[in-house]
């Protein structure tokens, strides 16, 4: 689960691509890749298309929800636990 807001504008997840393990996928394609793992020490890069304008700084707010596949809520047929984190940073473009 990804909820990304840049300079106050929420980005539709359908616009996102995700770069990990040397491949770039549309966000919706991720759920089919259950044989791939995001390794604990690797970075994942989210790509979106935006005109950069002349601004050097951008406020980036990200809610990231990880479904923990080994922690099932509500018995063996239940749903995975959703572990959420929130980041709000102003990043400087180089």
């Amino acid at each position: 689960m990804v909820d990304l807001t840049i300079d106050g504008d929420r980005v539709d997840p359908a616009e996102l691509t995700v770069e990990a393990n040397g491949v770039t996928l549309a966000f919706d394609e991720l759920q089919e890749r259950y044989d791939d793992w995001w390794f604990t020490t690797d970075a994942v890069t989210l790509h979106i298309r935006r005109s950069n304008g002349r601004r050097a700084e951008h406020r980036v707010e990200l809610d990231l929800g990880l479904r923990i596949p080994y922690l099932i809520v509500g018995g063996p047929d239940g749903e995975p636990l959703l572990a959420s984190s929130h980041t709000d940073k102003t990043l400087v473009c180089n």
Binding site: Q31, Y34, W37, F39, T40, T41, R67, I68, P69, Y70, I72, P76, D77, G78, E79, P80, S84, H86
Partner: protein, 344 residues
Amino acid sequence: MTQTPAGLPKLGITLFSLTLEMRRSDYTLEGMIRRVAELDLGPGLEVVGFQSLRGWPNVSDEFATGFRGLLDECELVPTAMSMNLDLARRRDRRMTEEEALEYVERQMEAGKKLGFPIGKSAILSTPGFVEGLARIAERLEMRFGVEVHSPESVDSPHVAHLRELFDAVGSPLLGFVPDFSASMHDVPPSLVRAHRESGMSEELIALVSEVWHSDATMPEKFGRFHEEAGKLGASPGDVGKLNMVLTMHGSMDPRRWAELMPQVVHVHGKFYGIDESGNEPSIDHEAIMNVLVESGYDGYISSEWEGHAYTDAMSGYEVCRGHHDLCRRLLLQSAQTAGTSRAH
């Protein structure tokens, strides 16, 4: 590597304690293992496969040879391979029993290849799964343990059910891994400090502590906490964090572990901090070490610092060093007391 005297539990570490250190830009697995050896945090070494080993459970011959050689060189002993049963790996459905067994089997094989004599993970509590697991353990000549971690305890319905299933299969290779989180006498001071520093109100922190200490069932505690936290205007984020206090810290009497000891294959020395006097302020280590010594357990205790879940104010290496000193002191004291009482 400093050893505990023969016949006593042995010490070790799980690399999970060093989760924060894994995020440093200069981290390498080899460097971490060498540092563990330098700080005398062995001889036992436990690894979480998915956390520490890229590509797990695919382990190449070359990697396995290098890993085993490194542990030999460092005088470290592989203890338990911590595995995952990712029942919800797929979004559209949960794993079947057959898929779950295959998933665990692949990880047991990979653990064996790396020299680990024990595998541990969650399991499906069905007769078919437990029978299959016993066959896997027998074929690989490994033991398998299910962790008994808060909110579970020695007599929680889930653990009681597993004990029945294990008894029915009758395999000496299947057992349990006690985790000290189930037997705490207080909320960890390091956690209270971290929540206070994050801006949580004193009233809310006092509430969760009071509810934790109250004599009530877990559902009753959750109910009361939610009702009163709502009145205090707690945010959903804070309520979520404090739910973890009730879930992750159990209040079983530590002497109750004695009942489980005949089926214990490995031990998780869960802890959250070491105070100025060298003690763990929320877990009665003296009582637990007495149980372990009196039972004759001479397997490994993996020091497992989990304070990194809410604070980065401490070094995992340093707190584990303190935990080893504490465990060693108490094991020797317990052995001496046991020896004295036997002599009388």
